[in-house]
């Protein structure tokens, strides 16, 4: 039988069966799924400017109108707990590690409002988790436009709300994560031992991405690719060896196209400013984690082959149409050993998110 959670799901090519493993104790965890908080939309309504949201700003009229209807269609999935749990059951997902809808980052608003937005989002996430602690853990949102506030809200999320990590975007309104004064934030994440789930909200300069939903299907993996490059080449990964970052959408383009940086780096001093010649860029890339949202079994197998099953985590992108509707079946369909499948479906997430 084929599990599906999106109402407009296509027939997938994956095998579609719930995993059959000797180790029946593995709980399946979805590392990539979003919660929409309507209150936040109201909070930023008066200051909203489409230019801050490249996913919409650079989209064609067709995409904008499609998207508007799509978001309306999925609103129950995005907001209602019972619908969410029913979909998890249908898809064979035991636990969701819920993060905010990327539209709620709001790094473009004044810091005070940004903090309020993050707090509102995080309180809603905490409420969801408290109602069903067996089915949910949360990844909080922080106002990255103000590093001190980001650290404070991170502390509150972890210490008071019991969250297992944070979700951040790939840049702060066009400023690279490595250049936005966030060293203290990264240090604190490292110290707390929680994870960063890095999820883009489009790419800042995107005039050629207007049609065919390129504003998402090319721009999002590009945004992740640029972010990972800066985290490596600006030395953030080197300065914070304990950082655990899971990159959405299979790591964007970066994870499946990694040879170019290793080739260029030893030859070019312009790539060695923060990364001495004897370092190997992909040694840092291998420290990242990537989700399974790549849709093909061959790419999933490739990611496992290159980065190891212990660095790949099952995700969906629930509740959007760009979600993998059969996440367990997708992993199941790949040519992987049972222990690799178990790690990807839930074992890795259990460790990284400190699930009992």
């Amino acid at each position: 039988m084929l599990f599906k959670c999106a109402h407009n799901a296509p027939e997938t090519g994956s095998a579609g069966h719930r995993i059959q493993l000797n180790d029946t104790n593995v709980r399946s965890v979805d590392i990539h799924c979003h919660l929409h908080v309507p209150k936040v939309d109201a909070m930023v309504k008066d200051v909203f400017d489409v230019k801050f949201e490249p996913l919409i700003n650079y989209a064609s009229d067709e995409t904008r109108s499609y998207q508007q209807k799509h978001v309306q269609d999925i609103m129950p999935m995005a907001t209602d707990v019972a619908t969410r749990i029913a979909n998890m059951d249908a898809a064979g997902v035991d636990v969701q590690a819920v993060s905010t809808a990327p539209g709620h980052y709001c790094y473009w608003v004044e810091p005070d409002l940004g903090r309020e937005v993050a707090q509102t989002v995080n309180n809603s996430l905490a409420e969801l988790v408290n109602g069903n602690p067996d089915r949910f853990v949360a990844l909080g949102s922080v106002p990255l436009q103000d590093p001190e506030m980001a650290v404070s809200e991170l502390n509150r999320c972890v210490d008071e709300l019991g969250m297992r990590g944070v979700e951040i975007s790939t840049d702060v309104c066009g400023t690279e994560l490595s250049r936005a004064g966030l060293d203290r934030f990264f240090a604190r994440v490292e110290e707390l031992g929680v994870i960063i789930f890095m999820h883009p909200g489009g790419f800042t300069e995107s005039a050629r991405f207007a049609d065919h939903y390129f504003s998402n299907i090319i721009a999002n993996p590009l945004a992740s690719t640029v972010a990972v490059h800066y985290l490596i080449f600006d030395g953030v990964m080197d300065r914070h060896p304990g950082l655990k970052i899971c990159v959405a959408h299979g790591g964007g383009f970066m994870a499946s196209y990694s040879g170019r940086i290793d080739h260029a780096h030893p030859l070019r001093p312009d790539m060695q400013r923060h990364l001495p010649k004897d370092k190997i860029p992909t040694d840092y890339l291998k420290r990242f984690y990537f989700d399974t949202v790549v849709f093909t079994d061959h790419q999933l197998e490739y990611l496992v082959k290159v980065f190891g099953a212990d660095h790949i985590l099952m995700g969906t992108d629930y509740p959007y149409d760009m979600a993998e509707v059969d996440p367990v079946g997708h992993v199941n369909s790949a040519d992987l050993s049972d222990s690799e499948k178990a790690a990807i479906i839930g074992g890795n997430a259990a460790k990284l998110l400190s699930l009992n």
């Binding site: 407009n8 296509p10 064609s60 067709e62 995409t63 499609y66 840049d171 066009g174 690279e176 790419f203 800042t204 300069e205 005039a207 050629r208 991405f209 049609d211 065919h212 939903y213 390129f214 998402n216 299907i217 090319i218 993996p221 590009l222 690719t225 640029v226 490059h229 800066y230 080449f233 600006d234 959408h249 299979g250 964007g252 383009f253 499946s256 196209y257 990694s258 040879g259 170019r260 940086i261 290793d262 080739h263 260029a264 030893p266 030859l267 070019r268 001093p269 312009d270 790539m271 400013r273 790549v294 849709f295 093909t296 061959h298 790419q299 490739y302 082959k305 290159v306 149409d321 760009m322």
Partner: protein
């Protein structure tokens, strides 16, 4: 022992110990290698044209310095056929399919001027080919900013010089190839049954790629992704079913992340406005070179798109070149001898109408 063909070649980690000498094992063709024509540079220095286009601007000072020094260092390789042939011999390359240095596109200049530089570049490449027709075939450059001129120069190069294809960039002054009025150009390429070799230069998304050479390491595969995306979703590969296009640098970002194209096609009207089949159906029609540097990615390309769509290349003589192209393919685990032969030269021979020497 490890053979290297560029001055600053790094030790590779391909794990092989020798290259396969040209002719001794498989017929080998390098589909991705460049020629620089100093005469065309000199034309750019003419003050009458110098201010008519935004000249190439370095990403940052250090990158500019490195690139200028590199250009000086490799100039003999870029310009002198005897140096080139010695390098080919050392690397086990039987035939190079010469394409112009991407710095010769000149799409941002007035079309008449770009036509003139194209003629100079193409005639020069034709001269190298006729000097050693067993070792070289030629790909031309055309003034893409004017479709009629592009068609005329393409016809001249194919009919008069016997060129086997044309090298083009991934956009024309920031306009995507499918939106630059180039239908008649693509139709002519298809009719003449020659190959397009698509090679980017920098990227139109410069702002966030100034440091760490990202305009090349990210910008190039991104540009190819945008070009492939538009060729696929704007229906050009449906409209021109016979067209043969080889995408540099392993095809850029799309061939290793194709699921994100197919998934929304099944769901979203905005992803199937023009095409009638899933995007990967069209991606499958393209050819990709082997310039990806890791054996795992090359293996993935072969497994996913078929050995008959992967074509050996180097990016000679730049620092971003694969310095041991034959050893790289030969050392990739899991490829059969037949697949290796196809990738090393068989496909290129078919696409570029080269007659391999009889064994």
């Amino acid at each position: 022992m490890l053979f290297r063909c560029t001055t600053k070649a790094p030790a590779t980690d391909h794990g092989h110990t020798e290259v396969v000498n040209n002719g001794s094992k498989h017929f080998t063709v390098d589909v991705h290698c460049h020629v620089h024509v100093l005469e065309a540079d000199a034309m750019l220095a003419d003050p009458a044209v110098a201010d008519q286009a935004k000249l190439y601007k370095e990403a940052n000072e250090l990158t500019g310095e490195i690139n200028r020094q590199q250009h000086k260092d490799i100039l003999p390789k870029l310009t002198d056929p005897s140096v080139r042939i010695a390098d080919m011999d050392r690397c086990g390359i039987d035939v190079q399919a010469l394409s112009p240095s991407p710095f010769h596109y000149n799409y941002a200049y007035p079309a008449e001027f770009a036509r003139e530089t194209s003629v100079v570049v193409n005639d020069h490449i034709a001269g190298i080919v006729s000097g050693d027709p067993d070792r070289f075939v030629g790909l031309c450059t055309v003034p893409l900013q004017d479709a009629d001129m592009a068609v005329a120069e393409l016809e001249r190069c194919v009919n008069q010089h016997g060129m086997r294809g044309v090298e083009i960039s991934t956009n024309v002054r920031g306009q995507d190839l499918t939106r630059a009025g180039l239908e008649k150009f693509f139709a002519k390429v298809e009719e003449l049954d020659v190959m397009i070799f698509m090679h980017p230069i920098g990227t139109s998304y410069k702002e966030r790629m100034t440091d760490h050479y990202f305009r090349n390491t990210i910008g190039h595969p991104l540009e190819s992704a945008l070009a492939v995306g538009h060729l696929v979703f704007d229906g050009y590969l449906e409209k021109f079913p016979g067209i043969k296009i080889c995408i540099a640098h392993g095809g850029g970002y799309v061939p290793t992340y194709s699921g994100r194209f197919d998934h929304p096609y099944h769901l979203r009207d905005d992803c199937r406005q023009v095409i009638s089949k899933p995007p990967s159906h069209y991606v499958k029609k393209l050819y990709f070179d082997t310039v990806v540097f890791t054996d795992h990615q090359l293996r993935y390309l072969v497994d996913t798109w078929g050995a008959d769509h992967i074509v050996m290349g180097t990016d000679y003589p730049y620092d971003m070149a694969e310095t041991d192209p034959v050893g790289f393919v030969d050392g990739t685990s899991g490829l059969s001898e037949e697949q290796k032969s196809t990738v090393m030269g068989g496909n290129a021979a078919r696409l570029l109408k080269i007659n391999p020497p009889s064994v």
